[in-house]
């Protein structure tokens, strides 16, 4: 039966603490024993549910307006989740009604925030507490902040069209990242200077894994404000703009392997 003998199990303790990987699992014959197997299934179920959850845009808009923030509800050209998954190009563009709505608004801002569901609508629950910490830092430096855009079925690049229409110098897209097995609610923050349709990922900076169990709000806000300030000063974002805040060396963000497509794209 349970197959890691007690003696091995005891000696595992120090190593097991060094990683969240599923090591030292109890066995049943060659297979993983029931409890550990079901723990995996639960983690996957939560990740799947996170992908399929719909964004409660009304509640999000309410939350923003109760803070006195102007908001604009938008929708991408991907009409539903299936279209979103199959056609990345549609999630990067606004639908016609959203485009027209934005085009009719006044423009010319230092910065515009977009909140998008991406691959995890539940991750957007971290957007409000993050803004609560980040906006005061920006107000301190007299940033002209545009309306907060809430985009359903949106990908990172939808910020390019939004920022372009609002003539924003900088756009920050707060978006649900692809859920991991132990992180169904990671929020990413993607910064793009001089947003316009056709920007590439190499022209963006990203803070990843924003959530209480990952990068806490206050730390994320500090780093976001730092990147925004540097982007404005140097008039660029992307690979030439490094995050040099003291905590950056501990960043668990996007691994730079040649195997990994961007998590939200």
């Amino acid at each position: 039966m349970a197959a890691t003998p007690a003696e091995i199990d005891r000696q595992w303790a120090s190593l097991r603490a060094a990683t969240h990987a599923r090591i030292g699992l109890p066995r049943a014959g060659s297979a993983i024993a029931t409890q550990a197997n079901l723990a995996f299934q639960l983690a996957h179920a939560e990740a799947r549910d996170a992908v399929n959850d719909a964004l409660d845009a009304l509640a999000l808009v309410d939350g923003l307006q109760s803070r006195g923030l102007r908001t604009v509800p938008l929708h991408s050209a991907a009409r539903d989740r299936r279209a979103y998954l199959l056609r990345p190009d549609l999630g990067r563009r606004l639908d016609d009604a959203s485009h027209d709505r934005l085009a009719s608004l006044s423009s010319d801002y230092d910065i515009v925030f977009v909140i998008a569901d991406g691959l995890s609508a539940r991750a957007t629950s971290h957007a409000l507490p993050l803004l609560d910490e980040a906006l005061p830092l920006l107000h301190r430096d007299a940033w002209k902040i545009g309306p907060i855009c809430v985009a359903e079925q949106g990908r990172v690049a939808i910020g390019d069209e939004i920022g372009q229409l609002l003539a924003a110098k900088l756009v920050v897209v707060l978006i649900g990242e692809r859920p991991g097995l132990s992180s169904p609610d990671s929020l990413g923050a993607y910064l793009t200077f001089a947003p316009r349709i056709g920007r590439t990922d190499a022209e963006r900076n990203c803070l990843s894994n924003i959530r209480p169990a990952g990068m806490p709000y206050s730390q994320a806000a500090q780093r976001l404000a730092f990147l925004c300030t540097e982007a404005r000063r140097r008039k660029l974002t992307g690979i030439e703009l490094k995050d040099e805040t003291p905590r950056a060396q501990y960043d668990h963000s996007l691994p730079e392997t040649c195997r990994l497509p961007p998590r939200s794209e």
């Binding site: 090591i23 297979a31 995996f40 996170a50 199959l86 097995l181 040649c258 195997r259």
Partner: protein, 459 residues
């Protein structure tokens, strides 16, 4: 122009790559590229037209022009006409029938491999059912060696993939030891670094090489860094066993990976110069995956499975120890669900084996694909039946750095037990000597092997 008529309806295909694309079993990446068949009937019509196509067509009509693409030039220039001669008069359909016939033995298939182009293999796969892909691949034998022997009949090897989100050495060591205790690692102990920096990769190489040396394990180590990083490490005297690189099936796809054939040749020569293999000199490790060319906008209007097969032409030019497709990693816009992932995994294994590669597979999926561990069980079992050289061993199937799910050390044990497969013979001897494998060939350790004890306490 190619065409076929079915009960009065004429289906026309404007060129060879269009015929290939429309004959491909349905997958989201070809739909995304706008080149898939418009209907199920059109798909079969294309398959019928393709079945009647003489194989020699592929030698005379490159899908991507010879002048524009160095992968095409590699395919055409390295084609072995003598090996091709026995099937030179066949059509694609005739080749399928021949491959399934008793004339196609392990020996004749080995002799045939240099005479096949990737496009021929891809074409046959498109008119084959999963059963055919399994039955034919199971007849192919490709054996490679470095410190142990990969690909022998009755063997299934595995890679230990002990990744960690911050490359923490202790965390990586923990996952690697877990794998060894579960009988994994005879293909390679291979780490995907979270950060592709030379210093980081050097430290990880030392870590795994020390582990291997201390325990005297007959296997090889690899840090799956970019080839330029590994080249630099070789020049600095790092203990590089295998050179890794992701590769694609077009010159443009390879450029998006930051490589070309000349760079791979340089790396291959550098790795050979180290002479670290004890029983063989297969020193390259390649990963591939359908959809990489399209995602790099370098697909030339070709379907993703054909381009995947062309990546194998790149691989086989370097006599690799290991090649695996990372079949579900790329996401649902290329392979939507378990059905598409399973089909693609079998196609990739089939084409790789037919072209003479030591083909393995990372049977995997992301959380936004319509797939789950049951689908991986199906694919892993089918690949085991098809004679796959190696698969992945990830702790609990959950890669905490790359954020996707693959196959676990336990899954490998289960498939070995069910299908009566063994690890590489040298590695099996080591497992027995360590007391990790019993007389029935099952990995059932009753105590921690003595040489492991200092690793657990000191780590």
């Amino acid at each position: 122009m190619y065409a076929t008529t079915i009960r009065g309806t004429r289906y026309a295909f404007q060129d060879l790559k269009s015929l290939m694309a429309k004959a491909a079993p349905l997958r989201s990446g070809d739909c995304l590229a706008g080149i898939a068949a418009a209907s199920a009937a059109e798909r079969v019509a294309a398959q019928m037209a393709l079945a009647d196509l003489p194989l020699s067509t592929f030698l005379n009509e490159p899908l991507i022009p010879y002048e524009e693409d160095e992968v095409t030039r590699l395919i055409i220039d390295s084609h072995d006409a003598e090996a091709f001669a026995p099937i030179a008069s066949l059509t694609v359909g005739g080749l399928r029938d021949w491959l399934l016939s008793d004339s196609a033995t392990s020996a004749t298939l080995t002799a045939l491999a240099p005479g096949l182009t990737p496009e021929m293999a891809a074409a046959v796969s498109k008119i084959s059912r999963n059963q055919d892909l399994i039955a034919i691949a199971a007849k192919c034998r490709v054996v490679t060696r470095f410190r142990d022997t990969i690909g022998l009949p009755g063997c299934l090897s595995s890679r230990i993939q002990p990744n960690h989100p911050t490359d923490d050495p202790k965390g990586i060591l923990a996952s690697a030891i877990d794998g060894l205790l579960l009988g994994a690692g005879d293909a390679v102990i291979g780490i995907n670094p979270a950060l592709d920096s030379p210093q980081r990769c050097y430290d990880l190489l030392r870590l795994i090489d020390d582990l291997r040396a201390k325990l005297d394990i007959p296997t090889q180590s690899c840090v799956l860094a970019h080839v330029t990083t590994t080249l630099r490490l070789i020049k600095q005297g790092a203990p590089v066993d295998l050179v890794f690189q992701s590769i694609g099936g077009t010159e443009g796809a390879n450029r998006s990976f930051g490589i070309d054939l000349a760079l791979l040749r340089e790396a291959h020569a550098a790795a050979l110069s180290l002479r670290r293999g004890t029983i063989g000199d297969n020193v390259m490790y390649f990963e591939t995956g359908q959809g990489s060319a399209l995602s790099a906008n370098a697909h030339h209007g070709c379907d993703q499975q054909t381009l995947e097969a062309r990546a194998y032409a790149v691989a086989r030019a370097f006599k690799p120890l290991l090649v695996n497709t990372v079949v579900g990693f790329i996401g649902p816009e290329y392979l939507f669900d378990g059905k598409q992932i399973i089909r693609a995994g079998l196609e990739d294994h089939f084409c790789g084996k037919l072209l003479g590669l030591p083909m393995g597979c990372d049977a995997c999926y992301t959380n936004h694909a319509e797939a789950d561990q049951d689908d991986m069980d199906v694919l892993l079992t089918l690949l085991g039946v098809a004679g796959v050289a190696y698969v992945m061993g990830v702790p609990g199937a959950d890669d905490i750095m790359l954020n996707y799910q693959s196959t676990s050390y336990h899954d490998v044990l289960a498939v070995r037990q069910t299908l009566n497969l063994s690890p590489a013979p040298e590695f099996a001897e080591w497992l027995k000597a360590m007391g990790l494998m019993n007389d029935r060939g099952l990995v059932r350790p009753e105590a921690l092997p003595a040489p492991f004890a200092p690793l657990l306490t000191k780590a």
